[in-house]
């Protein structure tokens, strides 16, 4: 079933340049499973080689083998013609292989310089840190990256994008030969990405081989020269980027092509479900007014830190508004806790699945019913059979792949975890569904399914608010788009009639269009 070889273009391995790094027949076994089965992969100097595959396909494992975090059970790592084996990440780093993590791997209460040289601080006799050298060296690296902060700044005070820069700076400590970017744009907004691309380009010019892992097709086609696809822990082909297209790559990845239904947005809007009037939380966001109608999907677009999640949290009762009103179905509400929010028919699928959305140590069923325990218990006693019915209902409705309801959700893939969070909220039968970054870090297959689900829910009468940093997502699902910048709403657009430029300008503070307060209640122009 994994031979869709008809459309596979094998890349030209007899290229003029010898690879700086080759992985040959790498096998990695974990107890009970083969995570990588004879996977081969190479990078040439100055090349961006994209590594693709669904979650669980083995990309991360392969990179961890490469970076010395895991030791392979078989196969060879050849760096500049020499066979290597790394016992730990530091060895790999010293040999010139650097992994830039998806998760922030910085120490918050330390300076930028200390983070850059973490684990290899320059020392004088007596184990003393050589601060002079440390800051001089760090400053030099930061200058190369054109960073706007200094080596003495505390990391905990930096924005996410700047933290990402520190991570990259760290890669440049040992003259790198190969740099692995693992989902580097996951926490970056669209206007921050060009900076990253610039850095990658600089590294390329210096002859560094780049391995680029991402779920975002646009980035991959923008950056890479070759694409290698993994599936189920096996090598599934390498193609030259210029000779292929997104559809083909998707097929290689998931064994079928995706049919995305960007056309079929909901269109039958009813009365106002949620209305915010001049909502303010001091020091966080100000004067936020907009509405969401039943059957409508409103997208909220902005940079990380613009105050989008905070608006959602305020509606959900997790923050106290210092001014303004929240109206549900036309009536003003005071929502003092998440519990009250749930009782009033609000559901929030939070931004951070693992920390906010799920109890990772609990099984699928228990997570699924957690927000509506009353519906599966009587007199306080759980009705396990009713719980199982609920679980099975959403499992089949949303095609959640789990061997059993007993499975701990910590062991599921990101997409399935997210579906469980959504299922949990659907079971509360909410009237307003807020989704904060619903597809962050989720593979394309699940992503499309979740998008379709969101639209389906709106069509069946839910009022939906989608917060996202991904432009295609916002454009793809929203009837209306609200742009936020620095704690304020800067613009409101028709989801089908807005250009990407307009959006970017609105979220970077380049337009200061007054929020359309009038649109809040009666404006039907937003409807198609």
């Amino acid at each position: 079933m994994k031979t869709s070889a008809s459309s596979r273009h094998f890349a030209d391995h007899a290229g003029s340049v010898a690879p700086v790094l080759s992985l040959i027949d790498i096998t990695k076994k974990f107890p009970g499973v083969v995570a990588l089965n004879k996977v081969s992969f190479d990078v040439r100097p100055g090349e961006v080689h994209a590594l693709l595959g669904e979650n669980g396909a083995g990309k991360s494992t392969l990179m961890k083998v490469l970076a010395g975090k895991h030791q392979p059970n078989g196969g060879k790592i050849i760096l500049e013609g020499e066979e290597k084996s790394f016992e730990n990440p530091k060895q790999a780093k010293k040999s010139g292989i650097v992994l830039i993590h998806q998760e922030q791997s910085l120490v918050p209460e330390m300076s930028v310089a200390e983070n850059i040289y973490l684990g290899s601080l320059p020392l004088k006799w007596g184990n003393r840190v050589d601060w002079k050298k440390l800051h001089a060296d760090s400053t030099e690296i930061l200058q190369r990256l054109k960073c706007s902060f200094t080596s003495r700044d505390m990391v905990s005070h930096l924005s996410i994008a700047k933290k990402q820069m520190v991570e990259i700076a760290r890669a440049l400590v040992f003259t790198p030969k190969v740099v692995v970017f693992d989902e580097p744009t996951a926490s970056l907004t669209d206007h921050e990405k060009p900076v990253l691309y610039e850095i990658i380009k600089t590294l390329q010019e210096q002859g560094v081989g780049i391995v680029y892992i991402s779920h975002r097709m646009d980035e991959i086609f923008h950056l890479s020269q070759r694409i290698t696809v993994l599936r189920d822990g096996e090598y599934n082909g390498t193609v030259n980027t210029v000779e292929t297209n997104e559809d083909e790559v998707t097929k290689l990845m998931i064994g079928r092509s995706l049919e995305l239904d960007y056309a079929s947005k909901p269109h039958d809007f009813k009365e106002n479900m949620l209305e915010l009037r001049h909502l303010t939380v001091d020091g966080v966001f100000e004067d936020v007014s907009f509405n969401v109608r039943k059957g409508e999907i409103v997208g909220m677009y902005g940079l990380v830190g613009a105050g989008r999640s905070e608006v959602a949290e305020t509606v959900f009762g997790l923050r106290r508004p210092s001014a303004g009103e929240i109206l549900l179905e036309g009536r003003a509400q005071t929502i003092l806790s998440s519990h009250e929010a749930v009782e009033k028919g609000i559901a929030l699928v939070p931004e951070d699945r693992k920390d906010q959305g799920l109890i990772l140590g609990m099984n699928c069923r228990d997570n699924m019913t957690l927000s509506a325990l009353g519906s599966v218990s009587s007199m306080g006693f759980m009705k396990t059979s009713a719980e199982k019915v609920v679980h099975d209902k959403y499992q089949s409705a949303m095609k959640i792949k789990t061997p059993s309801w007993r499975q701990k959700v910590g062991n599921l893939s990101g997409g399935n975890q997210q579906k469980i969070v959504i299922g949990k909220w659907l079971h509360t039968h909410p009237k307003l569904l807020i989704l904060d970054e619903p597809t962050r870090g989720i593979d394309v297959g699940s992503k499309a399914e979740i998008h379709a689900l969101i639209k389906e829910l709106a069509r069946s009468g839910y009022a939906v608010l989608v917060i996202s940093s991904e432009m295609p997502e916002v454009l793809g699902v929203s009837n209306r788009i609200i742009a936020m910048y620095d704690g304020r709403i800067t613009a409101e657009f028709d989801g089908d009639a807005v250009s990407e430029d307009e959006l970017v300008q609105a979220i970077t503070g380049q337009v200061t269009k007054a929020p359309r307060a009038a649109a809040v209640t009666t404006d039907d122009a937003a409807a198609p």
């Binding site: 079933m1 994994k2 974990f30 107890p31 009970g32 499973v33 995570a35 595959g53 669904e54 979650n55 669980g56 396909a57 599936r231 189920d232 822990g233 998931i254 064994g255 079928r256 959900f316 997790l318 806790s337 998440s338 519990h339 929010a341 749930v342 009782e343 929030l348 939070p350 920390d355 906010q356 959305g357 799920l358 109890i359 990772l360 140590g361 609990m362 228990d366 957690l370 927000s371 325990l373 009353g374 599966v376 218990s377 306080g380 006693f381 759980m382 792949k401 789990t402 061997p403 499975q407 701990k408 062991n411 599921l412 893939s413 399935n416 949990k424 509360t428 297959g445």
Partner: protein, 336 residues
């Protein structure tokens, strides 16, 4: 695609069934250890396995056990309660002192009310003020001890006519041949186990202990849940005070000193992780009994009482070594 997921799940399943087996083994391991030590002790001491000795040990362990039931709930909810030692002194002094002043019934009611009030203070500070439970209950340990001394003026309290009060039933009575303290212990353990395993309340406590942030984002009133665990803990302490006060028919002001550590040791021996979100009352019952039998067995074998401490250390190390499920995790996360 399906295979990718399954591959993933296979991987996970490997992990799960393995850790499942391990945790099963570790639970069994501690039981096996328990039974083995019983056999060893019985070789060295004829009385060890006698019915009267077993009943004595279980009766003696029941005070620690009753408290441990409550503290286990607090721990499952993701917090600690170190104030139970002082709280036990407080409740015991109170019930004994009030017994002769206002009569047993009123004394018991007042004692429960005031102990629950102290539990409510703990619960308020940890649940609603969101202070770190370790430090708060440590501070309360000191404050409550001072409170008792101020109340009693440092005097011992006694019940004058020990033989003529029905109050004696809690510490000295028997129901169907079983000592009342043991009955109270068993009944509490069973009720709390049922509550934790089969009610929506129990589910919420596990959720709050497992991930307090996610619990709040799921619409659970986390603060109330945490608050309530301290009430349960205080209720259990009050029950223990009933037994202790009735058993001794008097009380010193520091009678509960050090109980908090014995209780924790019992819980740890049983294998409940201190991280929250996991654990069970059964484990705690086993842990407390192990503690009791070690103490008794070593005494019967003629070892000085302090050798049990050394043995407890070794067993704790063995027990945690088996319990690899908690690998590389940290305790003591604050919820703020």
């Amino acid at each position: 695609m399906a295979t990718a997921e399954q591959g993933n799940n296979r991987l996970m399943f490997g992990g799960v069934s393995k850790s499942g087996l391990l945790s099963f083994l570790s639970a069994q391991g501690i039981l096996i250890f328990f039974l083995l030590s019983m056999v060893v002790f019985s070789f060295f001491s004829e009385q060890f396995l006698s019915q009267s000795n077993i009943m004595t040990v279980v009766r003696q362990a029941s005070i620690i056990g009753i408290i441990a039931v409550g503290v286990t709930v607090v721990i499952i909810g993701g917090n600690l309660d170190l104030s139970v030692g002082s709280m036990l002194s407080f409740a015991t002094v109170l019930v004994v002192d009030l017994h002769d002043k206002v009569g047993p019934t009123t004394a018991i009611i007042l004692m429960f009310a005031l102990t629950l009030l102290v539990g409510a203070i703990n619960g308020f500070l940890v649940g609603f003020m969101r202070l770190n439970s370790l430090i708060v209950t440590l501070a309360m340990l000191s404050a409550i001890q001072g409170g008792i001394l101020i109340y009693s003026g440092g005097q011992n309290v006694d019940i004058a006519n020990q033989d003529s009060t029905w109050f004696s039933v809690f510490g000295r009575g028997y129901v169907a041949g079983i000592a009342v303290p043991v009955v109270i212990f068993a009944v509490l353990a069973i009720i709390v186990q049922i509550v934790m395993s089969y009610t929506s309340y129990g589910r919420r406590i596990f959720a709050v202990g497992g991930n307090p942030v996610a619990a709040v984002y799921s619409g659970i009133r986390k603060n109330w849940c945490v608050f309530s665990t301290y009430l349960i803990s205080a209720f259990c302490v009050a029950c223990a005070a009933l037994v202790l006060g009735s058993r001794v028919m008097g009380s010193q002001n520091n009678v509960g000193q050090g109980y908090e550590l014995l209780v924790l040791a019992g819980i740890i021996l049983g294998g409940t992780s201190l991280l929250g979100g996991a654990g069970s009352i059964w484990k705690t019952v086993i842990g407390v009994l192990i503690l009791g039998f070690i103490q008794n067995g070593l005494l019967l074998m003629g070892y000085p009482y302090y050798t049990q401490w050394l043995v407890t250390w070794v067993i704790i190390i063995l027990a945690v070594w088996l319990d690899l499920a908690n690998k590389r995790k940290r305790l003591l996360t604050t919820h703020s």
